[in-house]
Symmetry: C2
Subunit: 257 residues, 2 copies
């Protein structure tokens, strides 16, 4: 099961009154359980690949750990990821199941409002046309999306170079995985751009902020909570980025013309 | 706050090196709390309109009630919807927060596997071209989507006539609202098509099944869990429906050429 992105499904394809019985590919999502220090932490509904990265990125984005230096050991058994930290952590267990495409909740919004000043203070800046190139590079790499039409992707670029790329049924999972991959490569998040294929509510911005990513560029729309969160957390939020067009909702000084 | 779909946000619009400082519209999501018989039931992150319909559709899709005849009274105060049922119901409270775009969880999958035979047994059938017309009718009506680019829609058609239409930041909320609107109009769900703008995991199919809807047509992709659920629950699942093309993943006998 691990590593299975998609599966074959039979379908009838109707095209202008022509019907064909064909085989097609559909994305798979499976419950992945994360344990921290032997305690159940969360269940994510995710494409069962990059499980270590998913768990690490999720813990960083969830604010439980700051970076991989806090991790002692990762053990993967079936679809369970067991993470042993160097120190004890207090958290409420069991946490809720985290679902296919989102974790935007009141709890997250409340957490954001607790911050009194921007937490991402990086001066990193890049040329606007680089953002378009990054989006295009990610689209080219999105193989599961091309096969199934049903997935999201995320990429982390450090100094304009793609360091991490992931796909998943959920835009949140894809971001978790990409952050996890980048963390394992010791990427300096202060000089990164996170590219996402999905909409941006507050909790997505919070994931980026907790990793320390200054620029988040999406092909899709922000939600109001996302714009507010980006403005509070010091993140340059870009939406509808495609071809030669983008909207900048916050901290435009990081985008050079 | 109630009835507010979207809000104005300032952004920089970059288009081929031309920058404009403009005002734009962004979708708002707000926590909506549902109480059943004075007990807290769930928090949905939703666009704060059609609150009664959202709550009723959510309870039907969640399997707590079968139809509106079980409801004694609905009271809306600020963003709280208090539903009084005619009978006592046992449920675990507080339920988890239901998030922006999804509720696909292990719990749901397990619930589906409990069913031994299809629960939707309607013989309702419609011509394929009607599905394309329904999708186009919904797209035309999707005003919040057109303004913000960040929302989903859902429509319920009874005997090929649009009876309920809703938009929300989450595809699940949009479906809940549309089912709620249709339920309040006493729509005969056995003769309906549910149109959705979103991807289809198992829990979306389960919402349709619990309402008794035989045909679910989406513009977007199904997930594998959605295809499995539709085949188990007796629902005709259509994906990638647009213009004159669609894929039929289950029970194609309801679609006539």
């Amino acid at each position: 099961m691990i590593g299975t992105f998609k599966t074959i499904v039979r379908k009838l394809e109707l095209n202008k009154n022509l019907i064909e019985d064909v085989l097609d590919e559909v994305a798979i999502e499976t419950p992945v359980k994360i344990y921290v220090n032997e305690k159940f932490y969360a269940t994510l509904m995710a494409i069962p690949n990059q499980l270590q990265e998913l768990a690490i990125g999720f813990l960083i984005g969830d604010g439980l750990i700051k970076n991989i230096n806090e991790i002692k050991k990762v053990e993967i058994k079936d679809l369970n990821v067991k993470i042993e930290l160097k120190t004890e952590k207090n958290f409420i267990s069991p946490k809720k199941t985290i679902l296919t495409a989102c974790t935007s909740s009141e709890e997250f919004l409340n957490q954001i409002l607790k911050f009194e000043e921007p937490i991402v203070e990086s001066n990193y800046a890049i040329k606007a046309f680089k953002i378009f190139e990054m989006i295009e590079e990610c689209i080219k790499k999105a193989e599961v999306y091309k096969a199934t039409g049903g997935t999201h992707f995320a990429g982390v670029f450090q100094n304009e170079e793609l360091k991490a790329f992931s796909e998943d049924v959920g835009r949140h999972n894809a971001v978790d995985k990409a952050i996890g991959v980048a963390a394992l490569k010791n990427v300096d998040f202060q000089k990164t751009v996170l590219v996402s294929s999905g909409r941006q509510p507050a909790d997505m911005i919070l994931k980026a902020a907790r990793a320390g990513i200054p620029i988040l560029a999406s092909m899709r729309a922000p939600l109001m909570s996302g714009v507010n969160a980006a403005r509070i957390l010091g993140i340059t939020l870009i939406g509808f980025a495609r071809k030669s067009r983008m909207n900048i909702y916050s901290f435009p000084e990081r985008i050079l013309i």
